[in-house]
């Protein structure tokens, strides 16, 4: 490896394989000389195998890996494999989605959206943290959340140049707050990093990916899928809106649970910030961002609902898995 100079923060190493495809893929991208063509046609042997392979391919577009050449980000063989895995993943997400959603009527969209989220009766990790979780469970949850929170909003930011003036300004208005409004100490991902450290956990990007269940990889990969593809900008913004609408009240519960267990104030600060910020963001995401998008591109209504539903469903799957593991 070439020295990168003083102040360089080493990035994560490639994750552990979860099956034969990811095994061969991860080996191939680390190797020199490498033979990528050999893995392009591989089939995943399980959803775990598919998701960690896709996650690793996506990370080449986020921060990359210390043990992988940055030039592989746009390697045609990897793009071909990525495309095939994405197709399967998107098909699975769409097959889980039961209905085309309530459509788009300008006058009632915000109301329809809030009602849609309220009507989705999912399991709540925040309620468990607030009242019953023990310290180990909550620390586990922080580890799982770190895979996304340390890159909070990054995949949504890919949608910005694909939007027209009204929606572009609206999205950047929200993202500016996620990114600290110019103050690096207030960047949400950084607040979470400080919370992790104060809890004695690693704040290194990707540190816990080997420990997370496949539901977390699906959550992560869905956001990157929606963000990277211009075609899916409706889903990216629908996902964002559902995420924001389900954040403010649960963040308050998280903060109360952290206080109940006497965990670090820095982590409570992250959630307290989200109580207030997301009470704003939920309004912006629904009323100016999604409604703005659909005013300009009404044909994307189906994808907005698809993205919103996927956000709720993926969180529900994770919550049900963790709650049943914790109850065992």
């Amino acid at each position: 490896m070439t020295p990168r100079g003083v102040g360089y923060l080493p990035r994560m190493l490639t994750p552990k394989a979860r099956g034969s495809l990811s095994e061969r893929l991860l080996e191939a991208i680390r190797a020199r000389p490498r033979d990528l063509a050999a893995v392009v046609g591989d089939e995943p042997e399980s959803v775990d195998d598919e998701q960690i392979a896709l996650w690793a391919l996506y990370e080449l577009h986020h921060h990359g890996f210390e043990d992988v050449d940055d030039a592989l980000e746009w390697h045609p063989d990897l793009l071909a494999l990525r495309r095939r895995l994405e197709d399967g993943f998107e098909r699975r997400l769409r097959s889980r989605w039961p209905s085309p959603g309530p459509g788009f009527r300008t006058e009632t969209f915000a109301e329809d959206f809030f009602a849609f989220v309220e009507g989705h009766d999912g399991a709540s990790l925040a309620a468990h943290v607030q009242r019953t979780a023990d310290v180990e469970q909550v620390l586990d949850l922080f580890r799982l959340r770190s895979v996304y929170h340390l890159k909070e909003s990054d995949s949504t930011a890919w949608a910005v140049p694909r939007l027209r003036a009204r929606t572009k300004a609206a999205l950047v208005e929200l993202l500016y707050d996620e990114y600290g409004a110019g103050d690096p100490d207030r960047v949400h991902a950084h607040l979470f990093a400080r919370g992790l450290e104060a809890c004695g956990l690693s704040s290194e990007y990707g540190a816990y990916v080997d420990d997370v269940p496949v539901e977390v990889l699906e959550q992560n990969n869905a956001m990157t899928l929606f963000g990277l593809h211009r075609r899916l900008r409706g889903a990216a913004l629908g996902h964002l809106a559902a995420f924001e609408v389900t954040s403010s009240l649960p963040s308050r519960r998280m903060s109360q649970g952290i206080a109940r267990l006497g965990l670090a104030q820095e982590m409570a600060d992250y959630y307290d910030e989200h109580v207030e910020a997301d009470a704003v963001h939920e309004q912006l995401a629904v009323r100016t961002i999604c409604a703005g998008l659909l005013a300009e591109e009404p044909h994307l209504a189906g994808d907005v609902w698809f993205g919103a539903w996927s956000c709720l469903d993926l969180e529900d799957r994770l919550a049900r898995r963790l709650l049943s593991e914790w109850a065992a």
Binding site: A110, V280, Q283, L284
Partner: protein
């Protein structure tokens, strides 16, 4: 030129008032609070635990108790 609207204040039916930019808002006790973000949400239902800012509580109020 302005053909796309971008008001400084937006009333959200059943929810907060969105306020763009830097302002000082006084709460019910007359204490001043300076905004800290590009857009702030001022509670209109009176039930937020973080006055004068909205904390999403309006969503769990019965519809007739929402502003």
């Amino acid at each position: 030129m302005s053909d796309l609207d971008h008001p400084d204040g937006v009333i959200c039916p059943g929810g907060p008032l969105l306020l763009r930019g830097d302002h000082v808002v006084t709460d019910a006790q007359g204490r001043p609070h300076r905004t800290t973000r590009p857009v702030s949400a001022v509670c209109r239902c009176g039930k937020s635990s973080r006055q004068p800012w909205c904390d999403g509580t309006h969503k769990v109020l019965p519809p007739q108790a929402r502003p």
